[in-house]
Structure formats: structure tokens, C-alpha cells
């Protein structure tokens, strides 16, 4: 069993406005050629209000919204050379499209050490402008080669 790490890490809530250009850039980087991410007429024909976000786009919302790599390193006192992404989960409750503004409330779900690895899990609840839950994101990051104290 791992040992719990005592932590009182407060992550600031943030908001983010989704833009068509950012979605296009993100889809292109993945090599995802689905036309719903590029052509608003096609997206609307498929039943979306505007260009929808790709399933993993919330990572861009988090990184560009304020919870980026450097911030996480600093908040949790991690060795940047030893951090890896262990797992990721998304639950989609509502449609998010270009033009929408979301607010994100991040919180620490768990933090523990097992052998010489440290596991940190962060959950983020997203709400739309009407205050409805639209998305939940949960990521687990792993710090390798941590020496037990």
C-alpha cells in the first residue's frame, strides 16, 4: 500500500473561451481531419451549434487556462524531468462548441507514494455560462524515481 502524502494544494479556478481557430490548430496537431472541426457549415449540418471541441480538447483549456505544466511542477514540488502522464478520464455531460465560455474548478483528488513513484490525481468540474455541468476531467500524473524519505 502507498503512503498518503499530506498536502494542502489549492488550485485556482479559471475560465476559458473556446475559439474556432484554437480547435482547428488542436485538431491539426493530432492529424485529425474530421471536417466538423474545420467547417462550421458541416458542423451545423451534423447538428452542432458551432464547431465542437475534439474529445481531448479540455487539455488545451487546462494548459492555456492556467493549470499548465510549470504551474503543476511548482504547486506540487515535482522534478520536471521525472513527470509522466499516467491516465486520463473525461465525462461529457453537455455539448461544448466554439464561442462557449467555461469555468473550471480544479481540486486534488488524491496524492500518494507507492514504491518509488508518486501519484497525483486532479479532478476538474467544468460549468457553462448558465452554470450547468458540462464536463468532468480527471488526470493522474506520476513522478518517477522518487526516493522515500
Amino acid at each position: 500500500m502507498g503512503s498518503l502524502v499530506k498536502e494542502d494544494v489549492k488550485m485556482k479556478p479559471f475560465s476559458f473561451t473556446i475559439e474556432r481557430g484554437k480547435i482547428r490548430e488542436f485538431a491539426m496537431a493530432i492529424g485529425d481531419r474530421n471536417p466538423i472541426y474545420y467547417d462550421v457549415d458541416i458542423a451545423r449540418k451534423e447538428g452542432y451549434r458551432d464547431i465542437p471541441i475534439p474529445p481531448t480538447f479540455p487539455t488545451a483549456i487546462e494548459m492555456w487556462g492556467g493549470l499548465d505544466f510549470e504551474t503543476l511542477i511548482e504547486l506540487f514540488g515535482l522534478d520536471p524531468l521525472k513527470v509522466l502522464h499516467g491516465g486520463q478520464e473525461y465525462r461529457y455531460m453537455g455539448e461544448l462548441c466554439a464561442g462557449d465560455t467555461v469555468t473550471a474548478a480544479p481540486k486534488l483528488i488524491s496524492s500518494f507514494e507507492k514504491r518509488n513513484l508518486r501519484f497525483i490525481t486532479i479532478g476538474i468540474h467544468y460549468k457553462n455560462i448558465d452554470g450547468n455541468d458540462v464536463l468532468y476531467s480527471e488526470s493522474t500524473i506520476i513522478e518517477r524515481g522518487r526516493t522515500q524519505k
Partner: protein
């Protein structure tokens, strides 16, 4: 259980990792700066896990309407480096009722040309 059509991705390049860093906002230098990757003991740069999950997300929105995706959860296995060619595989495993909705359940995985597992995950799609 029914197999979904496998999707074959183009070879991953270092430039793609730089592009994904900018697009996603994840500027961890182990993904873009070779000497930093070497210092980290990774023998060069490695792809962002989220880029690999993004490819699985591409497959999901290819197999099903994007708007019907309800859950998507993955674990990252082996690291991916520039030069690798990945294939996304999926299958429908059954049906479930959640939040008063009938949903399909499925598995998704990503492997390289040697069959090395990069990612394994599960998804739910509203029927």
C-alpha cells in the same frame, strides 16, 4: 462484440510534437527539446500522452457521432517516440444503462507497428 475499423496514423515526427505542444499548451521540454529528453533518461524526446489519447479521440469521433460520446478513459502504457507509426483499434463490448441513458460500451487501444501497446482505454456512447 464487434470490431471497429482500425485507423492507421501517419508516422509521428518531432515537428508534430512541437506543433502539439503549441496547440495544447503543454510545454514540458521532454516532448520537444532533445537534450532535455536525454537528461531525463528518455533517449530523446517522447510524445505527449495526450497527443496519443487525441488520436484515440479522433477514432471515437470517426466511429460514432462526436456528440454521443459520454465517457472516455485511458491509461498510458509505453512511451512513443518520433518515427513510430500508430494504429488505433476499437471494439464494442456491450450495452449499459447510465444516467437514464442506454449506452454502448467499448474498448480502445493504440499499438505501434511492432504491436507494442501505447494506450488502453474504455468508452461509452449514447445510443
Amino acid at each position: 462484440m464487434s470490431e471497429l475499423t482500425a485507423i492507421h496514423k501517419a508516422q509521428i515526427t518531432h515537428t508534430q510534437l512541437v506543433r502539439y505542444a503549441g496547440a495544447s499548451g503543454d510545454f514540458n521540454p521532454i516532448h520537444t527539446v532533445v537534450p532535455v529528453g536525454e537528461k531525463a533518461g528518455l533517449d530523446g524526446v517522447i510524445a505527449h500522452g495526450m497527443l496519443i489519447m487525441g488520436m484515440a479521440g479522433e477514432a471515437l469521433a470517426d466511429w460514432f457521432p462526436r456528440k454521443d460520446l459520454r465517457k472516455f478513459k485511458v491509461l498510458f502504457s509505453k512511451m512513443t517516440r518520433p518515427g513510430e507509426k500508430l494504429t488505433i483499434k476499437g471494439r464494442v463490448t456491450g450495452e449499459t444503462m447510465e444516467e437514464d441513458e442506454k449506452r454502448l460500451t467499448g474498448d480502445v487501444s493504440i499499438v505501434n507497428e511492432a504491436g507494442e501497446l501505447k494506450l488502453s482505454g474504455k468508452f461509452q456512447i449514447k445510443i
